[in-house]
């Protein structure tokens, strides 16, 4: 019997795989380790200490930037996911028609256009609005984040809907469920893992954003990433490592929660 071809048995497969993992995770591991350094150096180990974490928590600017980041990310992710859910329903719960592909392109546009272009465009656009309205609060950042989060939330929701049998909704309609009840009792419960994935993804993308935030923010509106970027211009201490480590912890938590929530369903 001929043995089946398997890429895992090819020479060098393990070596290449290991190299990829090292390239991905080694720098992060180093960063995390030095967050616990007792000294001020980023590359000389001087003993274990939690002092940089304490420093980070005592730094008023870090606290404020973190709260601002979370505020923006929560609102932007919720609004973007709601919009993305509606968009996904509208583009999948229908017979294919001419122009549907164009709609996909429009919805996914922020993925294609270089972020810096969007950033500059928003800077100019919002500065004009600021002059007209006199308002210069967090609303601009939230609006911008919502906009670029939509395609990220849209993709997993649409993937979930495309795998969902249309016959289920037909069966619900056959069993006297009005369109709203069909959505409430059949579509939504089955779509929930997709929506949750979209929400998480949008949240993380918003939390992480630098380029657009840097251009759109007004004075004193630093988010955690733009604050850290600002700090780079000065002498850098393991405090940055500590903040990054906490950031990493948050995203690991989100991914883990999502994994278990998703596993429980069906």
């Amino acid at each position: 019997m001929a043995r089946q071809f398997s890429v895992r048995r090819q020479t060098g497969f393990t070596a290449i795989a290991m190299m990829c993992f090292f390239a991905l995770y080694l720098p992060i591991a180093v960063l995390v380790v030095y967050a616990f350094n007792a000294g001020t150096s980023l590359n000389t180990w001087e003993g274990f200490s939690l002092q940089w974490f304490v420093k980070a928590f005592e730094n008023q600017q870090v606290i404020e930037a973190s709260i601002r980041s979370l505020q923006i990310a929560v609102v932007a992710a919720l609004v973007a996911t709601a919009a993305a859910t509606m968009a996904a329903l509208a583009t999948t719960r229908t017979e294919p028609y001419r122009g549907l592909t164009l709609k996909y392109a429009f919805i996914n546009q922020p993925l294609m256009i270089p972020e810096i272009v969007t950033a500059v465009a928003l800077l100019i656009f919002f500065s004009r609005i600021k002059v007209w309205t006199g308002y210069s609060g967090l609303g601009y950042l939230i609006a911008a984040h919502t906009a670029f989060c939509i395609p990220f939330a849209y993709l997993p929701i649409r993937a979930r809907l495309e795998n969902m049998d249309l016959t289920l909704e037909r069966a619900a309609a056959d069993l006297y469920a009005t369109p709203w009840k069909t959505f409430r009792y059949v579509t939504l419960p089955l779509l929930w893992p997709g929506i949750l994935a979209g929400l998480m993804l949008a949240f993380v993308i918003s939390l992480d954003d630098v380029v657009i935030t840097e251009f759109v923010k007004s004075a004193g509106q630093d988010t955690l990433p733009t604050y850290m970027l600002g700090q780079l211009r000065r002498a850098i201490t393991p405090e940055m490592n500590a903040i990054s480590t906490l950031f990493l912890l948050l995203s690991i938590c989100i991914v883990t929660v999502f994994f278990f929530v998703n596993k429980k369903r069906i």
């Binding site: 049998d165 469920a177 069906i266």
Partner: protein, 366 residues
């Protein structure tokens, strides 16, 4: 009420696409389905039987024509307002609900009180013999069990008409046989009109009170299984249901609805005429394989026709003989029931004589 038809299709057409791509899935079709009837739509895939079912369910709307349910035109009514329920080919059970929740869904949507839903679900579980699996997820039960849940779910709201879209096609042979009997029992016990769609002629013949044979968006013949099988009026019907021999011939004389047809190679055959049909000239005579038999070798001279045995196929219950008649081109198939411990009587290449039972042949309308 009793004399009203359960469902009446009046000149219904369903056209998909536009312009040169327009395609009539159902083409100006009319049919009446009686109360408490087990009615089957039979035809090959693409004949429009499923489209017709979906038009009755409300998943599609007719391009023209009327669909009456107990005398009321429901052609434009959305599916959730129609008192008909469907058993889907894929079952379409809700994967996020238990067996009991699936069965109760229709009543829940109708806003019935909880106590009534519970009682009805229990009754349905008993009817389909699934009581012990009520709390299971639908992904944790077998295909046959899913089938029963789908049936119970569709029957629970006590629909006026139950629509079944090839519900047995995913089951294996043995289970399919059991479910055929089960369906007949359920129909008798509930007294609900069943409209059953299938491409399986055996299923249609064994289960139905009446069968409609469809082809290319039209209903060709409606009748009891016996009528459809014994007296097909149409070449397609004769060919689709069972096996049939077609013999071309010329009408010599007609008397009391029986025509004497000269078929040349197969001699003169007396064939029944369809009512109100008096042909002259070319006709086609149909003859079922089980109504012909091989003559004993010593009586060859008295046979209706002779030919050469091309192929012998053993089926267990019976044996099929494929013969080419003495003109060397006309194929003829006949079937004989096997007797206990009988050795093969004929072999490939044998010259054989064939005789035909009286009153077996029929003339086709076209």
């Amino acid at each position: 009420m009793a004399d009203l038809n359960a469902v009446e299709i009046r000149n219904v057409s369903k056209i998909f696409g536009f312009g040169e791509f327009a395609f009539a899935a159902v083409n100006d079709t009319s049919v009446a389905i009686r109360q408490n009837e087990f009615f089957t739509l039979l035809g090959p895939s693409g004949c429009g039987k499923t489209t017709l079912l979906r038009l009755i369910a409300g998943f599609e709307f007719p391009t023209s024509g009327e669909i009456l349910l107990n005398g009321e035109n429901i052609a434009a009514m959305p599916p959730f307002k129609r008192p008909v329920n469907t058993v889907f080919q894929s079952y379409a059970l809700f994967p996020h609900m238990t067996v009991a929740e699936n069965i109760g869904f229709g009543l829940q949507m109708l806003g019935r009180p909880k106590a009534e839903i519970q009682a009805r679900v229990a009754e349905m579980l008993k009817l389909v013999r699934m009581e012990e699996l009520r709390g299971r997820r639908t992904s944790q039960i077998s295909g046959g069990q899913q089938q029963r849940v789908a049936l119970a779910r569709a029957l629970a709201p006590q629909p006026k008409v139950l629509l079944l879209d090839e519900p047995l096609s995913a089951l294996d042979y043995k289970l399919r046989k059991d479910m055929q009997i089960e369906l007949k029992r359920l129909q008798a016990e509930t007294g609900i009109t069943f409209i059953f769609v299938t491409h399986d002629q055996e299923e249609a013949l064994t289960m139905s009170d009446r069968v409609a044979v469809m082809s290319a968006g039209r209903i060709l013949q409606v009748g009891s299984p016996r009528e459809i099988y014994d007296a097909p009026t149409d070449r397609f019907v004769a060919d689709f249901i069972g096996e049939t021999n077609f013999l071309k011939g010329r009408v010599v004389s007609t008397e009391n609805g029986i025509a004497e047809v000269d078929t040349g190679v197969a001699g003169h055959i007396a064939a029944a005429l369809p009512t109100g049909f008096s042909p002259d000239g070319e006709v086609t005579v149909v003859l079922r394989p089980e109504h012909a038999m091989l003559c004993p070798p010593d009586a060859m001279g008295e046979c209706q026709m002779t030919g050469t045995l091309e192929n012998v196929v053993y089926f267990g219950t019976d044996t099929h003989y494929h013969v080419v008649l003495s003109d060397g081109v006309t194929p003829f198939t006949l079937r004989e029931q096997n007797k206990p411990m009988q050795a093969a009587r004929f072999a490939q290449g044998d010259r054989v004589g064939i005789s035909v039972e009286a009153n077996a042949a029929r003339v086709l309308r076209n």
